[in-house]
Amino acid sequence: MLDELRQTCRRLLQDGTVQAVIGYGRPSPEDPVVPVFITKPEDVDQLAWDDQCFANLVKYLLRKEVLSLGKLAVCVKGCDQRALLVLEKESQIDRSQIVVIGLACDGVGKPRLAKCASCDVHTPRQSDFVIGKANTPDAAATVAERYAELDAFLAKPPEERMAYWKKELSRCVKCYACRQVCPMCYCRQCIVDKNRPVSISTSATLKGNFAWHITRAFHLAGRCVGCDECTRACPAGIDLRLLNLSLAKAAEENFDYRSGMDPEKEPIIGAYSQQDHEEFIR
């Protein structure tokens, strides 16, 4: 599979289809996997592929310095590809200018990450190339199975849930790694960086941390594709996945929408329907 990946990338670079390939690499065998930017055909041997390839490389397609390399090819796993689709829907990328190299994936991490258990996109969709073949069948998860983790959490009384978040969020140091790594956080100026007026307390106290994490989660409502990069990037080990899952669940239950899954469906935020339910409104 790795050979196939390297050959594909070499060909793309040689015939000038793309000027750079964004992929995974390992500087030396004992190093962790890092994102690599290959611009010369002879460098494709730097590319790596194994179950330690966590990063969602789609994020780099939004960066000016990366775009200035020329036409790009990007390596994506199935979950990363969902982010690509949302960005395309939100007019953030020009899909015709990007070559997408899908990497069939059986899950990443040892043990496997939580997101991989209910994965139903082992083989990336809408890719220009699909490298390899996934051995794991796509999970045919029902809504209940997909959000089992969240439902177990929601079964606790509200006071306990609040106590959990107080404990977790008290560790947040407001490094904003969750934002920096998120492929959906592309605002030129983030609302927390606006200081006239300060709408979200910038202090790394519980008050500021609650305000920030509510904001972060809600700005991703109906957009988060569940790549869990925020949870992975968090130096304090806060499980942001739960917050993202809760909004994904609300989107699926109320609007039958899973972001980045169906190219035919339009994003739910920024649109409305006269039929939206309102039994909670007086």
Partner: protein, 145 residues
């Protein structure tokens, strides 16, 4: 309300300029009495009512928040309330997950002609919040700074 020992909740009402604000105004001109626990904040449209404002109200010591605007189909800006409604559906789930008391966040449609409804809604919310007591849980979060 002469009893000074009764808990007086602080209720923040974010209302739209075109319907609910006028509804509250009508309640006033009709001399309809409603609890003075509500602090009205007028915004252009429910579509403008950012969820951060709800969080902010709790940060600053609110015991309940009401968000109110024009009935569906009546929005001055055609669709602001439809957009808002969709966001609230999602936002309520997030509150639930965080363990923030959803019984303290109220939504309503009150038109400019519904002074009576404004009176009822505010009275109900005040009574309900009085039963729930002060929202100390969120206040504690903000005090530990």
């Amino acid at each position: 309300m002469s009893d000074t020992n009764v808990f007086q909740p602080k209720i923040i009402a974010y209302v739209c300029n075109w319907c609910t604000y006028l509804g509250a105004d009508l309640a006033g001109t009709n001399r309809l009495e409603y609890p003075a626990n509500v602090r009205i904040i007028r915004l252009p449209c429910t579509g403008r009512i950012d969820f951060n404002l709800i969080v902010k109200a709790f940060e600053r010591g609110a015991d309940a928040v009401l968000v109110s605007g024009c009935h569906p189909g009546d929005c001055h800006y055609t669709a602001g309330n439809y957009h808002a409604r969709r966001r609230w559906i999602l936002f309520r789930q997030l509150l639930e997950t965080l363990g923030i008391d959803a019984r303290r966040v109220h939504f309503s449609w009150i038109s400019a002609a519904e002074g009576k409804k404004w009176q009822q809604v505010i009275t109900e919310i005040t009574d309900k919040t009085r039963e729930l007591g002060p929202y100390t849980a969120y206040r504690e979060i903000c005090q530990e700074c």
